[in-house]
Amino acid sequence: MEAINKHKGKVFPLNRTNIDTDQIIPKQFLKRIERTGFGQFLFYNWRFDNDGGLRDDFELNHPRFEGSSVLLAGENFGCGSSREHAPWSLLDYGFKVIIAPSFADIFYNNALKNGMLLIKMDEKQISEWMNQAEDGTFILKVNLEKQEITDDEGTVVTFDIPAYHKEKLLNGWDDIALTLQLKDRIEEYENSKLA
């Protein structure tokens, strides 16, 4: 996984709560056996109409949000299925940072494993940013090391993140390699069960 520390990007406000994984990527696109190429299917039913044309009632389709890489959303983002295709599609589309009041557990883990930065922030702050981001020119700068987000005017907001997650993201560690350093412990555990 790629390490992430600083990110600066255009903000896309998605003012909905309980955005579930079926909305993030519908099931008909889960049949691929690769990890890549899922961005084209992101928010498919919101972005495209039944004939595959772009819908103009979904803001992400608007040119002013082109190149967005920071997503603002309502609470419980990513609820539903365990499909890792959800973070794969968000990342592949270009979103590197998601800021929401809360995230569903499995989605949070899946995103983390792919080097995507999820930030929990209070609803009031998010709704302020949502308003500012409406016109498609709002940029946020995220510094993970310092746990700070800076807006266009230089206002700084801090955020919390578990130290362990932060360390992993900053270093881009491969989880399996880390765990395999504990191979002896695993063996010991297995042997104790056999005894």
């Binding site: 519908p26 099931k27 989880d175 395999l180």
Partner: protein
């Protein structure tokens, strides 16, 4: 005697392989279940890094999500076929047992685990599927994981997990006649919302829970994820032990009696404390119907859709009603349906089918309604056929299919068309879940059966008593 403990703490402590200040615990996994959709990238990852599956003997695979439920010998969907073939090859290469599409043990992964006795009290069980919570019905700690975690478990047989907080979902009183486990869990989610379980493992307690059959308990635990909890469980009791006796993968003879004793000892101790408790009175629960686009948007059959003036998140409710093609304050019994789906890992076991069959017996599906029954596993299908249940359904005008996830998520051909309205025994009513533009109403098998006959939602209690208005 030490401090009284919950079953959650007991299972956790028995599985910690490694612990370090400020980090999650490394937990050992006793049973890993695998299916075709969330595993290909994990196996590919193993191959790329030259790793093996650490414990193929603790890993079991099946195909369920995109298998067709009819004409199985001719899978038309190329990409689905590729995914199934990939699983076949991966299982062969890495030495994993697979219940393939024509294998007698094939079925929805959360139906076959318990049926084979792979699911046992005290085990840690994971699967690349959020409804792995189902297995908690046996007093196992079971939760869904993503594909990177699948790869991690394949390679190490362990997983990093933060110690969860514990939540007691206490069900007081008894369920009324005609009210099912499905109604209970829907009512719980309607009352406390789709987030109240986030960060917790829930234990369902109370007489009403322990009076339920194992199949009813699975229905409840299955939907824990819909309340935000990764895992939900029920302490094992005699019902649990009796269900498991004689199943293929449980110990036999004396070893079984010994295991049974250990299982019963796992139950939460008297006086154990939880981080949080919520209480619901079972006697107040009525048959439920969901009206919206998440499982908490749910009311009793006698109720109506909400009024926008009375709700907190107006925009969400307005969007949900619009998607569902419903008005505010619309009576649930005024909603006509055109599809009925009886199936999914929530409600596709033998007793679910028996109860639905009892409702449709001797009646006809309403003209214009397409109704299908999809047994949860091949073996459920065979047992049902032995009892003649398939005949009851087909005589009434239902289609009787082969096992799989089917219309629960519509990854195969079983989809509800845009604007179609389905009474479904599954667990998610998200936008587009059963097909692009499809409208899903979550109900119990009995309520789905009654809706099939009437072509609209009816109170199954009045239906069986013959006093419909």
């Amino acid at each position: 005697m030490g401090k009284p403990k919950t079953i959650i703490e007991k299972i956790w402590e028995k599985h910690v392989v490694h612990q370090e200040e400020g980090k999650p615990d490394l937990l050992y996994i006793d049973q890993h279940l695998v299916h075709e959709v969330t595993s290909p990238q994990a196996f590919e990852g193993l191959r790329l890094s030259g790793r093996k599956v650490r414990r193929p003997d603790l890993t079991y695979a099946t195909m369920d999500h995109n298998v067709p439920t009819k004409n199985r010998d001719n899978v038309k969907d190329e990409i689905a076929r590729k995914q199934m073939e990939t699983l076949r090859e991966n299982c062969k290469e890495f030495g994993i047992k697979l219940a393939d599409i024509f294998h007698p043990d094939q079925g929805i992964v959360h139906v076959i685990g318990p049926q084979l006795g792979l699911t046992q009290p005290g085990k840690t069980i994971v699967c690349g599927d959020s409804h792995t919570s189902t297995h908690g019905a046996f007093g196992a700690l079971a939760f869904g994981i993503g594909t990177s975690e699948v790869e991690h478990v394949l390679a190490t047989q362990t997983i990093w997990q933060e110690r969860p907080k514990t939540l007691n979902v206490k069900v007081e009183g008894d369920l009324g006649p005609g009210v099912t486990a499905k109604d209970l869990i829907l009512a719980i989610i309607a009352k406390f919302g789709v987030r109240f379980g986030t960060g917790y493992v829930m234990e369902y307690t109370g007489d009403a829970v322990h009076q339920l059959s194992m199949e009813g308990r699975m229905t409840i635990c299955n939907m824990s994820i819909e309340a935000g909890a990764r895992a939900g469980l029920i302490s094992p009791d005699e019902t649990t032990v009796e269900y498991l006796r004689g199943r293929e993968y449980v110990p036999k003879g004396e070893a079984f009696e010994k295991a049974a004793k250990e299982w019963l000892a796992l139950a939460t101790d008297e006086g154990a404390e939880y981080d949080e408790t919520v209480v619901i009175n079972a006697a107040e629960v009525e048959p439920q119907v969901s009206w919206g686009t998440n499982p908490s948007m749910c009311v009793p059959i006698g109720g109506t859709t909400p009024s926008l003036d009375e709700v907190e998140h107006k925009e969400d409710v307005r969007r949900a009603l619009e998607y569902m093609g419903l008005e505010e304050k619309q009576p649930i019994t005024s909603i006509d349906i055109d599809h009925v789906f009886i199936g999914s890992c929530t409600n596709s076991r033998l007793s679910d089918l028996q109860k639905a069959a009892a409702i449709v017996d001797g009646k006809r599906v309403k003209y214009g309604v397409k109704a299908i029954v999809v047994p949860g596993s091949f073996s459920v299908k065979l047992e049902a056929e032995k009892l003649g249940i398939d005949k009851v359904f087909t005589d009434a005008g239902f289609e009787w299919r082969d096992s799989g996830c089917s219309m629960c998520l519509g990854m195969n051909d079983d989809i509800v068309p845009p604007g179609g309205r389905c009474a479904s025994t599954s667990n998610r009513n998200f936008e587009g879940r059963q097909g692009n533009g499809a409208r899903t109403h979550l109900v119990s098998p009995e309520m789905a059966a009654a809706a099939a006959i009437e072509g609209r939602f009816v109170d199954v209690r009045k239906f069986t008593a013959g006093v419909l208005n």
